[in-house]
Amino acid sequence: MFDAAQKPLIEVSGLKMYFPITAGVFRRHVGDVKAVDNVSFTIFEGETLGLVGESGCGKSTCGRAILRLYEPTAGAVRIDGTDVIAASADTLRQMRPKMQMVFQDPQASLNPRMTVAAIIGEPLDEHTKLSKAEKLAKIYALMDQVGLNRDFANRYPHEFSGGQRQRIGIARALALNPRFIVCDEPIAALDVSIQAQVVNLLEELQDRLGLTYLFISHDLSMVRHIADRVAVMYLGQIVELAPRDAIYAEPLHPYTQALLSAVPEPDPDTERTRRRVVLTGDVPSPANPPKGCNFCTRCPKAMAICHQIEPTFQEITPGRFVSCHLYEQTAGQAAAPGASPEHIQKTIQQGE
């Protein structure tokens, strides 16, 4: 899947999103909340990158910063070769059709005073020169595409159920034929049966339209289902990035190990033998991350070096990136611990 022939669509490099903390009468700048701190990754055309992590680790901020719904502090995001971060306000607006977002809260993210047709059709007014009839036809086509009854076109968002509202949100995102969609926890606000419907819809649309997704979620099972590769975030940084099967079969970073060990098994026998890695302590404040590795305060495998030097995010076997000192010493060599030759073999197979 990610061999050399695969074309990268999104290239994020060194993305930083700091929110300033001000204090005192004169609103002096006293520090930053480092919501996203030096994140780099690539998303290839047509793939789904899952972005997972616990609440508050900066997943959503990362997704929004990529689309420049926030003004990032530093870094570059290239979509199809053009830098989004450096673009002027007007260029950015012209680029919006290419990149869209499906928001987490389908209730709040739709303007309560606009009908469904107006919500879906507004981007068309702004970016295309379709006639009224063509626009209506397009709106109907989009509603068909996401499985919404055409009769609902003149209703208001509050008249729909959560799943239907999320379909409106998806139809809205699709209106301008985007190539890249950030799905910011699109299923978090929905109940389980509806979650499946929406995820299947997203997959179906990906197959049909060749979309590229950044799928942000904290639901590890859902990410396993939908993603091709998975990135794990902790305290504003990506700690591990690997193909889906590899990361679920053999997580490398201690945080990923702990995170994945928390996923319940449907099989009672395996569930009984499941070994939980329970982390102690709280997540440090992103305003004041620990020295060295961000995870060192809670890591069961922390070493002396972890408290001193920040590990670098590097590729230890083809396609597997990890940011951990456990692997750093051996990274220069052919194989890292837990990355035996047959493992590499496996990874490549999964990549297909």
Binding site: R64, L69, R96, S109, N111, R113, E122, P123, E126
Partner: protein
């Protein structure tokens, strides 16, 4: 919507009857004598006859019933007569002011235009300057503009109109002599010069009241805008690639106007009520000033009628505000 309006109007009838009774009883219970200002040289038996002539000898419920009949039946008939030149109302007893022995409604009709031009214009000006200030303050929260706006509305809010009015009179009428300090009601606008004169005498009362109104409404507008600017749908609108103008003026403003329009609608009755204090300061002889005069003179029919008209307006504009809410916000349905 229509059934709601009808139902609310029906509910308004008992509400207003109770209000009228309460006002009447309050006035009845208030100390003071309508004949208090009659000179002491008038002999007691003459005074007694005057009392009889005013109908003050009968019990309160008789007088209340009489007032009800006059207000709800005789006065509408007279209005009809005046509008269509008919003579149905001849010989019927109208609500008469104790003070001037004139029909109360006639006095109100004479004074209403003054109040409406000065207070109404002030309200309009207040709204028109409050909305842009509120929008810009919210959009540039904590900027110097916002801080200045906050400061000015704080002043408008907290400094009473009798103070700002007097300050303006001292500065602009006494020291600078730009504007007259007394509002001349007898001025007829016939040509350009008299129009200019009318404008000049309106400037100060309108400014005082507009500052007060704008302070309130701009705060509401700012708060409502801030509320909506932080909503998720605004982010959606930006993600759609809309221009900032469309995002703010279409998406955010439309939603923010819902509560503000209600506040504005609820403020309309105060226009008719007149700004009692401001009218007093600038000697605008409008309804507010009349109310004060009548209270001083224990002119019960006048006070009763004026207060009751304000009550009707308040009930009516409450309904208008509710209906506007239903029209503006699709989430609210009255069935």
């Amino acid at each position: 919507m229509l059934t709601l309006t009808l139902r609310r109007l029906l509910i308004a009838i008992p509400t207003l009857i109770i209000i009228s009774l309460v006002i009447f009883l309050l006035l009845e219970a208030a100390p003071g004598d309508p004949l208090g200002e009659v000179p002491l040289t008038v002999p007691p038996e003459v005074k007694e006859k005057m009392r009889l002539a005013l109908g003050l000898d009968s019990a309160w419920y008789v007088r209340y019933g009489l007032w009800m009949k006059q207000f709800f039946w005789v006065e509408p008939v007279h209005l009809w007569d005046a509008l269509f030149g008919t003579h149905f109302g001849e010989g019927m007893q109208r609500v008469i002011s104790f003070q001037s022995r004139q029909p109360v409604m006639q006095i109100i009709a004479e004074r209403l235009p003054q109040t409406l031009t000065v207070v109404g214009l002030a309200y309009l000006v207040g709204v028109l300057i409050a909305l842009p200030i509120g929008i810009l303050s919210a959009y540039r929260q904590y900027s110097w503009f916002d801080n200045l706006g906050t400061f000015i509305s704080m002043i408008g809010f907290s400094v009473p109109t009798f103070f700002t009015g007097v300050v303006l009179i001292i500065v602009f009428a006494v020291k600078l002599q730009w504007f007259p300090s007394v509002y001349d009601t007898t001025l007829q606008v016939t040509d350009w010069a008299s129009f200019k004169m009318q404008m000049r005498q309106m400037v100060m009362p309108v400014t005082v009241l507009a500052l007060y109104n704008a302070a309130q409404i701009s705060r509401f507008m700012r708060a409502s805008m801030l509320d909506n600017l932080g909503q998720d749908y605004v982010r959606t609108a930006r993600a759609k690639g809309l221009t900032e103008k469309v995002v703010v003026l279409i998406h955010v403003l439309r939603n923010s106007l819902i509560p503000v329009v209600t506040v504005i609608a609820l403020g309309v009755p105060t226009i008719f009520g007149g700004a009692i204090i401001t009218e007093q300061v600038f000697k605008v002889n409008g309804l507010g000033q009349q109310l004060i005069l009548s209270i001083h003179a224990n002119d019960m029919p006048m006070v009763m009628t004026l207060t009751f008209i304000f009550a009707i307006l308040i009930v009516l504009f409450n309904l208008v505000a509710d209906l506007l809410y239903g029209i503006l916000d699709p989430r609210i349905r009255y069935d």
